[in-house]
């Protein structure tokens, strides 16, 4: 360990590892820390990504691709099926990842680019000099030590503390989080499509997913909006679904987790500090997807670290470029998704069925979601009136 780094990245998920790699490739001194003793494990993710988004950052590798899907199927509460995003035209079809291997591969790329990596090392606070952030306190094997750096990156996930220590309130309200449970199940036919089940009976304020993971296996999980959780729990809804709809399934793994669905938060940067990925609440409020956004944001944050180092200025004046950049790209999409999610929350199951029926006779199979939404709006202006500004 060095006495001082240019950048310390807290959290070795996809966002943190891409940030670390980007900085290290430019010759910056980078330390990537992970509080768990194993990078990538335990998983807290449904593991679905779009091919297109992934390929921007890393060449797909069979070691961490568990399955390839043809596209998506959205199932209305009455079972009406909408096929979407087949690869032929959109390039949007996706993979189901093996996160345990994927995350490790990304961290390894950061390491090979020159970043130092420490596992079982947990940030416990920020170091300050005259109020200025100068590094972190970190605990490794029960011993706390001071590690200095010009910039601290909080890529510490849904449970992020780095932002809070830096004075950024990242706490999520119950309606800003999906509380999720998932089983990796075997002895089922996963099909060739990622399936999304909509409706109160499956997942109030969220959806239930079946993502093919292999020949006889799938990630079957659901997200329940936090504000609707309490009397009913994500795990109970999931157990009931498996019992009623997949009685043949055998459970090989249990995954639980929270997914930020707040949409863009007010602040993700302060002097000497930037937040990336779930820590910056950059996961998509509609789909819950966060891997690609985190990687995109990590790249942006890394590039801004490089600039800051060149200028020798680590204040918010320089770091703000990251905030501006992600807001103009990821942030825009998050806001759109948030509007659609808020709309969906108001719809009854009957209205969801109506929306699905209105697409009868239209071949959506090659369209991605952003193309299908305006069509839905044109056909159902009354139900979707609030969304009109999104599509003009």
């Amino acid at each position: 360990m060095k006495p001082k780094y240019d950048v310390i990245v807290v959290g070795a998920g996809p966002g943190g590892s891409i940030t670390a790699k980007t900085c290290a490739e430019a010759g910056l001194d980078v330390l990537l820390i992970e509080k768990r003793q194993e990078i990538g494990d335990p998983v807290r993710c449904a593991e679905g990504v779009s091919k297109e988004g992934l390929k921007k950052h890393i060449q797909p590798d069979p070691r961490w691709i568990a399955a390839e899907v043809k596209g998506s199927k959205i199932l209305a509460p009455d079972g009406t099926e909408i096929k979407m995003s087949e690869e032929a035209s959109s390039g949007k079809a996706g993979y189901t990842l093996e996160r345990k291997v994927f995350d490790r591969a990304l961290a390894q790329q950061a390491a090979q680019a020159g970043a130092e990596v420490m596992v079982k090392t947990r940030a416990t606070g920020l170091l300050r000099d005259n109020g200025k952030i100068t590094g972190i306190n970190a605990m490794y094997m029960g011993e706390t030590q001071e590690i200095r750096a010009d910039i601290v990156i909080g890529a510490d996930g849904v449970e992020s503390k780095v932002g809070r220590w830096g004075g950024i309130d990242t706490s999520l309200k119950p309606h800003d989080i999906e509380t999720g449970a998932q089983f990796l199940v075997s002895n089922i036919d996963p099909g060739e499509y990622s399936r999304f089940y909509m409706g109160e009976k499956y997942a109030p304020g969220g959806y239930l997913w079946v993502f093919p993971k292999g020949k006889h296996t799938a990630n079957v999980g659901l997200g329940l909006l936090g504000s609707k959780s309490g009397n009913v729990r994500a795990i109970t809804l999931l157990e009931n679904f498996i019992k009623n709809y997949m009685p043949e399934a055998k459970i090989l793994e249990m995954v639980v987790g929270g997914v930020p669905v707040s949409g863009p938060i007010k602040q993700t940067v302060t002097d000497g500090l930037m937040l990336v990925g779930d820590a910056a609440r950059q996961s998509d409020p509609l789909t819950g997807g966060g891997i690609i956004n985190a990687m995109d944001a990590g790249k942006m944050a890394g590039e801004v670290c490089i600039k800051a180092k060149e200028k020798g200025d680590y204040s918010v004046k320089t770091l703000k470029e990251y905030e501006d950049k992600w807001r103009a790209t990821i942030g825009k999409e998050l806001s759109k998704s948030l509007a659609v999610k808020n709309m969906l929350l108001k719809l009854t199951d009957e209205q969801l069925n109506q929306l699905a029926h209105s697409l009868k006779g239209i071949d959506t199979s090659k369209m991605p979601l952003p193309v299908v939404l305006p069509i839905l709006f044109k056909k159902n202006p009354k139900i979707l009136w609030e969304l009109r500004t999104l599509f003009v």
Binding site: R44, E159, G258
Partner: protein
């Protein structure tokens, strides 16, 4: 004031840490720690995917 974490149920996912309005919770590798700033507001208990947290008044 505090919350009790049932360690036999907890899946150490950290969702509770993300919603705590005062930052009283921390996910250490496989367990949740609660510090004395907890106000027993119950948000964590409400959103826990497995119902592992119980508010103590």
């Amino acid at each position: 004031m505090s919350v009790n974490v049932n360690r036999y149920k907890c899946g150490y996912c950290g969702a509770c840490v993300g919603v705590c309005p005062v930052g009283a919770l921390e996910l250490v590798e496989t367990w949740i720690e609660v510090d004395n700033t907890c106000t027993s507001c119950g948000v964590c208990a409400k959103i826990c995917p497995v119902g592992a947290l119980v508010v103590v008044q």
